[in-house]
Symmetry: D2
Subunit: 150 residues, 4 copies
């Protein structure tokens, strides 16, 4: 199936993030680490820790929702000109199986991209089982459109 032809416009973003584990924000709460990063594709994961698990014994679904939202936006940065922004404007997630431990690894792929927006799909695996699928839209804001920069 034809995929969009994407080019890395911001290679330093990849250099800085590959192998990096978030230290702050909701991605820092989860402990998201970037595993692989290429044009239009991001693999990122976090280890399930006790605080992610609810009294039922399964991980809180919100952890996967936040992971998907995070990857939906981050996957765009390498293919946007430096100084641009991306923000998720909507997404949908289906949880397929409960998660109780191990690592949750998301693979995000850009399936369509214009100057102003992109559609991204995400698949999350937990120890080789598919546990969630998501798809959503990100809005792209190019550096030259930002009126708030000095």
């Amino acid at each position: 199936m034809a995929e969009p032809k994407l080019e890395v416009l911001n290679p330093s973003f990849i250099e800085h993030l590959e192998g990096y584990t978030s230290q702050s924000g909701i991605d820092g709460y989860l402990g998201v680490r970037v595993v692989e990063f290429t044009a239009g594709r991001l693999v990122a994961e976090f280890e399930v820790v006790d605080d992610h698990v609810t009294f039922i014994g399964n991980m809180h679904g919100g952890c996967l929702a936040a992971l998907c939202d995070h990857c939906l936006g981050v996957v765009l940065y390498p293919v946007m000109p430096p100084g641009s922004w991306a923000a998720t404007t909507e997404f949908k997630v289906n949880y397929l199986r409960p998660v109780s431990g191990g690592a949750c690894r998301a693979t995000a792929e850009i399936v369509s991209m214009t100057k102003r927006s992109a559609v991204v799909t995400v698949r999350v695996e937990n120890d080789d089982r598919l546990v969630a699928v998501a798809q959503g839209t990100c809005t792209v804001k190019l550096a030259e459109e930002r009126t708030d920069t000095g």
Copy 2:
């Protein structure tokens, strides 16, 4: 528009949660506090703190996604028999405006409920502006169906 007739089957759940602020889990990371709780309707909120805000200056969308996911499940507990479980199986969220501070207040309402599942809508306000709408499905697991209890 006709709403489902729902009855409180687990009043102690409401008593324990009303006014309570989550101390652990992703809801604890956010600092979610239950404001109002009735049959089929939950109002819960959190204060936006620095750690929720990304380098762009806006709150990470994952915080709203996690809030919506959390409320989707919690709103069901009072109307299920004690010992039952609810878990979000899918949801979709649209972010309407960026959030940079103040409180995010979610109102979750059950729009349909059977023995096994419920559909819930959520609206999130930030200082009286609507900032997100969500809808999704929760799976209900009644206490008597749980085979793992001793």
Copy 3:
């Protein structure tokens, strides 16, 4: 909850559509009739006929999906300048109950609107029972942005 302040910019669109039953297109296949039309709110319905019902005895879900998609776009026309276009770019629907006859009445409401896009929610009733809820995004194309006009 604060709703967007919307103004009718294209009153003749309302005049032409109120009471009108679609004669062609997928909305014509369904037989969609516009019942009420105000700034930011559209009520439209169709009668379930034999061809809408599958071999299971229930209406094909695609009929409700098409109705929601249709209303998501049409609700925008009165509040856009004449000559503008609106097209659904994404939506999500939850079917709440099976439908086997009677009328399906959708109420679409704009919950957020900018120059370029709007988020709309839809509720569908079948003989006073809520049978579907949807939410989605429409892209707005203003007349002056259209480069294909002569």
Copy 4:
């Protein structure tokens, strides 16, 4: 990525549908034809005709929504015991590009399946361009659970 292991339980369904073009229902309105059918995967398409196109010159999005909804359910029949039912309970679709002619070909794949439900993803191509992605849930009703059979 690990996919569910699915087995054909109803081979005659495949035999009857492969190559078949719907003659009635909303799928008949579209003219949906089953192109390929295997365990867990369905390819189906329709030709865009004048009645599918709106006054804007693009196909009505509802046609793609109805196609996705249709494929979401139909893909399940071969892997359910004969006499079972499947019905879409929720789905989400992103439209990626406008369609004005040619054929719309959907590829539906089951990504997760239990006794009672399945999650399915759909990709729609129009002349080798990806024009829509969808994902949703179907409820499965096994023959032995149906209480309405004589």
